[in-house]
Symmetry: C2
Subunit: 184 residues, 2 copies
DNA sequence: TTTTTAAACCTCGGAGTCGATGTATATTGA
DNA sequence: TCAATATACATCGACTCCGAGGTTTAAAAA
């Protein structure tokens, strides 16, 4: 998703792509050569991108990569209907968010944000005693577990506020768009 | 780490363990049977835990798992000197935090928190233009990318505040401990 | 001139994970 | 009484990913 997402902005060669992916998901979970290049080849085989060799500006020749229509379609499908992990795993979610603007339709964008919003709504029960009874945060012995739950709660609230503002905004824009096309 | 961490609290059988791991890292990134049970076996082979069969309280017999001294040592090594990913990847970091109290020595605990603190300090440059120049958040076109960076900044600050309070607290306690043992 | 360095790309083996599938046991209920 | 269900454990093949190693090219340094 990150490869196609970046290429949708402008053509890049593999090495540049690698650095951009590394900066995005990256200092968190860097991407290895052995992952990136085979994935590029896979996307090329699937006609999602084209490659043409260009002289390297500094050293060895580059393979300039360009996204195709099929690639754009694939990217949009991934964004429109993301796998569960992209909603629940923070790392993946942030990658998705970084490219959600390529999904162009504000109503569809709002739907994706709503899925995340729904996920954040369910209360987190992280720890249980020997009997399997959930332990409320204030009864936890470990200050680290207490902090963990505090931070979790606080960051969730921050994101929920932003999501709600954003969803409202997108729906309003979708409404205008409909009215401009003749009402609904 | 989660397996040994939970067993350090009290003995558990695999199925229970599975649910606890799933609750912790879990609704984020659930753990499959095909991952859990081979890992338990690996830890058993490494003498990190022992297993004795007990009658199942409900149905099939359980394998009650107990951590050994070697297992406790291993857990402490993982906690004391975590691999980079455990500092930089939120998911892994939260797992580490959930068991950091097993590291008992407040000075060692503070050192681990300090590593996380240091990581959070480096400013995040996530997006670049076609020339490779970093784009400041306010100049980003995509509202999603803007939000992404906002949320990132805000949640980082929340965690940094907590980390600083916690580190100060731990160092104070380490200081008392030293004085009680005769000064330093 | 030769070596070193850095850019840019590629491959392969091994480790880890998942998902599907299968087994055994005790309770429930039809 | 017999099937269905939930508990509890295990295995295997497919897939993904990483890391180590290697190649080519051009510029800089020796």
């Amino acid at each position: 998703m990150a490869i196609l997402g970046f290429l949708r902005d402008f053509p890049l060669h593999g090495y540049d792509l690698k650095n951009r992916v590394a900066s995005l998901a990256g200092h968190v979970r860097p991407v290895a050569d052995g992952t990136l290049y085979p994935t590029i080849k896979k996307l090329e085989d699937a006609q999602c991108l084209t490659r043409r060799t260009a002289p390297g500006s500094v050293a060895a020749p580059r393979h300039m990569l360009e996204i195709t229509q099929a690639g754009t379609d694939q990217l949009r499908r991934w964004l429109r209907d993301p796998e569960p992990g992209f909603i629940t795993d923070d790392n993946k979610w942030y990658v998705l968010l970084a490219f959600l603007h390529h999904l162009e339709n504000p109503r569809e964008q709002a739907l994706v944000l709503a899925r995340r919003r729904e996920f954040l709504d369910q209360p987190a029960q992280l720890f249980f005693d020997a009997n399997g009874t959930p332990i409320p945060p204030e009864q936890l012995d470990s200050p680290f577990r207490k902090g963990l739950m505090q931070i979790h709660r606080s960051t969730n609230l921050t994101e929920i506020e932003w999501l709600d503002r954003q969803i409202a905004d997108l729906n309003k824009r979708a409404g205008y768009a409909v009215r401009q096309r003749g009402g609904d």
